[in-house]
């Protein structure tokens, strides 16, 4: 087991290395750098001045040496101030080193956000915290509801409850966040006026009034999918021999479901729930933009829209890490939950 986890962690590190290299390459394409230079300098600067800005801030160094600096395996060089000729910080608002030092992601320095004029760490981690709160509430809502729907539907395959709940879950998987978000806002904020259509105030304090719509919107897309997986798993379990045995020895239907079927039927949905995280990540971006909630997704969109290189790299590192770690947890957890599976 330990060697399996170690090997997976190795693959994970390799994947992250490749992906960050790809992201680094794509963000540093020439048109993107030009866009950054234009947004960072005053209006109507000449092409020469833009080029100067890029050189002065170290964007014109060798690609691989810059990637190495970001990673922390090549010492980060300070830039020379053209006026004084002395080494100086790249951005005055960050604590960039004045002497060549190893200061990259491996040392815990995520770099400098050009959009928010601060370090990436001080912007990214509070945002992650805010998204964490959102995710927590989404899971609290989503998991019990979807498991309940799935179990009720799969308990008696082909019954009317099953049909109704199955169609309802299909409908929910056909409703992406930007559709359900609009519909819920129209119903609950515009018509009924019960809830707030914006979650901007939620960063100061979460209330039922401002936080229900984002949570609902985000949960609805996942509910259908998890419910369908739970149903499939439950249907399979209900046809097993031990369920028939339990029924034949005279146990009531309810107690068969709760005591014998449930535990075995919940193994498969566990994997599905863990693998929902990558999907939730895209949903988080849509929902946070739609309801103006200052979290990870909002930061990602701001970073991408303004070509904020270090911040976007930080965001991609975090999201790729989340995807890969949830895959690992789901594999390991599955092996623990299902004794019939042994990993080699």
């Amino acid at each position: 087991m330990l060697s399996f986890i170690l090997r997976r962690l190795g693959t994970m590190a390799l994947t992250m290395l490749c992906l960050t290299l790809v992201v680094f390459f794509l963000i540093n394409l020439d048109p993107n750098l030009k866009k950054l230079a234009i947004s960072q300098t005053e209006m109507h600067t000449s092409a020469e001045q833009l080029e100067n800005w890029l050189v002065n801030h170290g964007y014109r160094q060798n690609f691989f040496s810059r990637y190495g600096q970001w990673l922390g395996i090549v010492p980060k060089q300070p830039v020379t101030d053209p006026a004084t000729g002395k080494p100086t910080r790249r951005f005055s608002f960050c604590n960039d080193p004045v002497e060549p030092t190893f200061s990259g992601v491996l040392q815990g320095d995520f770099g400098c956000s050009t959009k928010f004029k601060t370090t990436v760490a001080s912007k990214l981690f509070p945002a992650l915290g805010a998204t964490g709160i959102l995710m927590f509430w989404v899971l609290v809502v989503m998991v019990p509801i979807s498991l309940l729907i799935g179990i009720l539907a799969g308990m008696r395959e082909g019954s009317r409850t099953d049909r109704t709940l199955s169609v309802a879950s299909i409908a929910s998987t056909a409703t992406p966040e930007y559709v359900s978000g609009v519909i819920f806002t129209v119903i609950f904020a515009s018509w009924l006026g019960l809830l707030n259509g914006s979650a901007a105030s939620a960063s100061r304090g979460i209330t039922f009034y401002n936080f229900t719509l984002p949570v609902m919107t985000l949960a609805i897309y996942g509910i259908g999918y998890i419910a369908r997986m739970t149903r499939a798993s439950m249907v399979e379990v209900m046809t097993q021999q031990y369920i028939r045995t339990a029924r034949l020895k005279g146990l009531s239907f309810g107690s068969v479901v709760v005591k014998h079927a449930l535990r075995n039927a919940l193994i498969a949905p566990f994997t599905v729930i863990m693998l929902q995280f990558p999907w939730l990540l895209t949903g988080v971006v849509i929902v946070e933009v739609m309801f103006r909630y200052q979290g990870f997704g909002y930061t990602l969109v701001e970073a991408a829209g303004n070509n904020d290189i270090d911040l976007l790299l930080g965001c991609s590192l975090v999201s790729v890490f989340i995807v890969l770690i949830t895959q690992l947890i789901s594999d390991v957890g599955y092996a623990f939950l299902n004794p019939r599976i042994r990993v080699q």
Binding site: L19, L26, D30, Y178, S190, L300
Partner: protein
């Protein structure tokens, strides 16, 4: 000047009446399918369940809407008639006397016409992109599952690499105006659009290599048609000027194919690994058939059930992806009538007007729902045998 309005009942009637070519075609096709369902194989079996009928009905509805868009929609989706700005549903346009059935948006365009024309964009890009993703996924998934070993390790690593990217980040990196100045989208298009040509060439070659009369015709057709489409799509150099794609649409297309082919790859690989242990594959191996013949003519036809179901779901998912692109204003032109862009524009003004937001959301939802219902009943029917 005061606008005149028609009542809610007249709006409903008007909408139903505008769709008249769609209703006629729907009745014809559904009626014919229902009458001959015994002879139509898997498609005919769909008409045995109500879920299947509803699914087919919704999909066909949007298909015919896309085909007859110019007849169904009363106005041009891009033309702005200033007096109709933010008009409520049922407002009568004074000059032509035609009705803005679902009202006007903030740029005074007809919401109903935009919704109808939006279906065209979705129904062209989503199935085509899914088709290419299927080709790429199948062509790479077959050898990965069949041979295993190093080629499998490499391809699976690459597929997992793409799958580990959150879709939205991928789009923000791949669908930008900046990237269209670089050769990257064209290089990717050049790579992806090669796969159908390779697929069909190998398909015909393995089957007919002993029968030159058939082989030459089929290979010639594949190369001519494939080369023609390839030249039109990648280099925009179609000699007959029929096949043409805008650079930004090509960019979207490539990004969507790129995002969804690893998923197809994983499914095909899993199916192949399962099917290659069957007796008929062993029999073909004993006969001395070539590996690619076995993959394409023994394994692939037996994997078609799950692949068809996946293709249906994937078209729906691609529709959602296109909507996401529109919602973030990536790739598509800002005045494009596609549903995602319409939802983005309308959702910013929800506080004041809700009517421009509802038609595109309901359209998108119903189309994806139709595809999902179709996939569900296809799965159920194929499980029966």
């Amino acid at each position: 000047m005061q606008l005149e309005y028609i009542g809610a009942f007249d709006v409903v009637l008007g909408v139903l009446a505008r769709f008249w070519p769609v209703w006629i075609s729907l009745v014809l096709v559904m009626g014919a399918s229902f009458a001959y369902k015994k002879r139509l194989g898997l498609y005919g079996q769909l008409f045995d369940s109500s879920v299947g009928i509803v699914g087919v009905g919704i999909c066909l509805f949007w298909l015919f809407t896309a085909i007859f868009a110019s007849t169904v929609s009363p106005f041009n989706p891009l033309v702005q008639i200033p007096i109709m700005k933010d008009a409520l549903p049922g407002a009568v346009e004074p000059q032509s006397g035609l009705v803005y059935l679902f009202g006007g948006d903030k740029l005074a365009r007809d919401v109903f016409s935009r919704m109808v024309y939006g279906s065209q964009i979705v129904l062209i890009i989503a199935p085509a992109a899914t088709g290419f993703a299927l080709m790429v996924g199948i062509t790479l998934g077959l050898p990965a599952g069949y041979y295993g070993g190093r080629i499998d390790t490499l391809l699976s690593f690459l597929a997992n690499l793409v799958l580990a990217f959150p879709v939205i980040l991928l789009f923000y990196l791949l669908v930008t105006p900046g990237i269209m100045e670089t050769p990257i989208p064209y290089a990717m298009a050049g790579l992806f659009f090669l796969f159908p040509i390779i697929f069909f060439s190998v398909l015909f070659w393995t089957r007919y290599k002993k029968r030159p009369d058939r082989l030459y015709i089929l290979m010639g057709l594949t190369l001519i048609v494939g080369g023609w489409v390839y030249a039109g799509l990648v280099f925009d150099a179609d000699p007959f000027r029929i096949i043409h794609i805008d650079p930004n649409q090509l960019n979207i297309f490539v990004a969507v194919v790129f995002a969804s082919s690893p998923g197809v790859f994983r499914i095909v690989r899993g199916l192949v690994m399962d099917i290659k242990t069957r007796d008929y594959v062993a029999a073909a191996q004993t006969r001395g058939e070539s590996p690619w013949y076995i993959m394409l003519w023994e394994i692939l036809p037996n994997a078609r059930g799950p692949l068809i179901v996946d293709a249906c779901l994937r078209i729906g998912y691609t529709t959602i992806l296109l909507g996401t692109l529109g919602y973030f204003g990536l790739g598509l032109a800002p005045e494009s009538p596609d549903w995602g862009t319409a939802i983005k524009d309308a959702s910013r003004l929800l506080r004041s007007f809700i009517h421009p937001a509802l038609p595109p959301t309901i359209a998108l939802m119903s189309f994806v729902l139709g595809l999902n219902l179709l996939a569900d009943s296809l799965r159920e029917q194929s499980m029966k045998d």
